[in-house]
């Protein structure tokens, strides 16, 4: 039973995954000990737990995290919805795909941060521009994964649906959606991940709350340990978000087999 549990948790993989972070910590501490950089710029890693306690006790960290998470989910909802609708349309309609795809591909070449000045000019510096910026980040992964899923439904499935004389409604529910679901769910995971990355960028300017703001404030108050602690929080939360979504993805897609008969 224990063996099965350990296999289930893939203990070896988890332990292997800890090696690089540990190495990074060791290199960090050695760099600090040898005074390669000033301790005020590259703070000792052993001071970070105290900084976490300070931020937790002040109540600031939790409230700022909730503010950021709120923005992430709002931005994700907007961006992923738009990406899903457009991706679905492009995947389903070759004409729509040929019409819109070139523009989408061209816009994708513009770095997302380059949109920030225009967004601020058009929408100001309150919540709306931040949500829009995050939505832009969430948009593309959802768009392309949905497009990929919908446009990749095997031809044999179409033919089978014709044989069974499926109407549009049944075709969507019984063939298209189940076939495209793995890609769509992957798109959701990537989209939410990008939304988390973008929220930090959105909070670097003209705000007084959020995890990105903590980094800015830490820098301005010359509390670089706060900047490092915020960076670590961002990494851990992003990792956790992605991990939880992966588990949900595996659960939703459990028991599925791929077209070649193997597991999905």
């Amino acid at each position: 039973m224990t063996k099965k549990l350990l296999q289930g948790f893939k203990v070896t993989d988890r332990l292997l995954g800890l090696i690089v972070p540990l190495l990074v910590l060791i290199i960090w501490q050695v760099t600090v000990s040898r005074h390669v950089f000033s301790e005020l710029i590259l703070v000792p890693p052993l001071t970070i737990p105290d900084t976490f306690m300070y931020l937790f006790r002040s109540g600031d960290l939790i409230s700022h995290i909730f503010v950021s998470l709120n923005r992430v989910f709002l931005g994700f909802l907007v961006g992923a919805s738009a990406g899903f609708v457009l991706g679905f349309g492009m995947g389903f309609s070759p004409v729509m795909s040929r019409t819109i795809k070139p523009l989408v591909k061209a816009l994708q070449q513009v770095p997302e941060f380059a949109w920030m000045p225009l967004i601020i000019l058009l929408f100001g510096i309150d919540e709306l521009p931040k949500i829009i910026f995050i939505a832009i980040g969430a948009f593309y992964p959802m768009l392309f994964n949905t497009y990929q899923g919908v446009s990749s439904v095997p031809t044999s499935y179409h033919e089978l649906a014709k044989v069974f004389d499926y109407n549009s409604h049944r075709y969507f529910l019984k063939v298209l959606i189940p076939s495209a679901l793995p890609s769509i769910i992957t798109g959701i995971r990537h989209s939410l991940g990008m939304a988390w990355i973008f929220v930090v960028g959105a909070e670097l300017f003209g705000t007084d709350n959020g995890i990105g703001y903590i980094m800015i404030q830490g820098r301005q108050l010359f509390q670089i340990d706060v900047v490092m602690a915020a960076l670590i929080v961002i990494g851990i939360l992003g990792f956790t978000l992605n991990y939880v979504l992966q588990i949900i993805e595996q659960f939703l897609l459990r028991g599925r087999v791929s077209f070649d008969g193997g597991p999905a």
Binding site: I41, D126, G206, D208, Q220, F222
Partner: protein, 346 residues
Amino acid sequence: MKRVIVLLMIGLQLVIASVAQAEEKPKVIRILFASTQFATQHAYNATQNYIVNNSLLQKEFEKDGIKVDISYIKAAGPGINEALAAGLGDFAPYGDFPRIVSKAAGLKTLHILGNEKGTNIYILALPKLHLKSFKELKGKKIALWRGTANETAFLKMLQTNGLTEKDVIIRNMGGNDGLAALSAGFIDALVSSADRPLVDQGLAVLLADNRDLRTYPLDDHFTSDLSVMEDFARKYPDITKRVVKVFIKADYWASQEKNREEVLQTLVQAGYKYKYQKEDYQNANLKQIFNPLLDQASYKHFQGLIDYCYNRKLIRNKFDVNKWFDKSFSEAALKELGLENYWTQK
């Protein structure tokens, strides 16, 4: 014979030590100035620009073969803190709040001289709001460059007017970002310097300032003072004193009433507007403003500011002003210049 050899050895060691000490000079002295928002290659105050325009530091050290390297930091106090921590500067005159912040965080500096005391802040507001007083800022969005000396001066202004930080919505924006946000109407007000940008274009109005609070001691204003990296000062005390001497000469020039017009023109050259600077200094006692003394009033100002910042969690550690201030350089320099009694100790 043995005795002679021992004495010779001791004598030789003393000679070597004194030669080593005499030769110990830096190759370069690095000064960091905070630049204005109008011109990145100008410092933000009159005395600093006077020093640069007349190459006073270069002239002081050229006979020693020491190069003087002047850098302008656009990111103001926070940027200077980072540059000092990264070992990119030896001296920096800048605002009281960022200097306290870095000292509290562990940056090993010494506060060795005053530079300009009692700097005002100005609150610019959107004309369409028709605000009549500072108190009407309650609930409004205000751009404030956090981490700079403007922050504590503004927070004190809130306090003086019966408001707290929670009564207003602060947007952390500085310099040109704040101006752009105000002109676009994204914020309601901006904490600014004397120059009041946008007012002439009709995009902002002057709502309030703390000029009438230009009192001594300096509780409601901010000061600009000279810091030196502690290691540099301990290693090169004579050089440090000579740098202090140059800054005192600049303060002496600016403090004289006969030079008032020249002080204003120096600021104009740095990109400031003449009419606003003239108004800013209109009722100012120049000798009181450009006062380098580390007197009781300075001690009280800084100790009060440290307590203020600690209570508002702007710093996490307190420190003793008496251990931070080092008057030895300024006292020696004032004596050399014959200015020991020029400024009044308060």
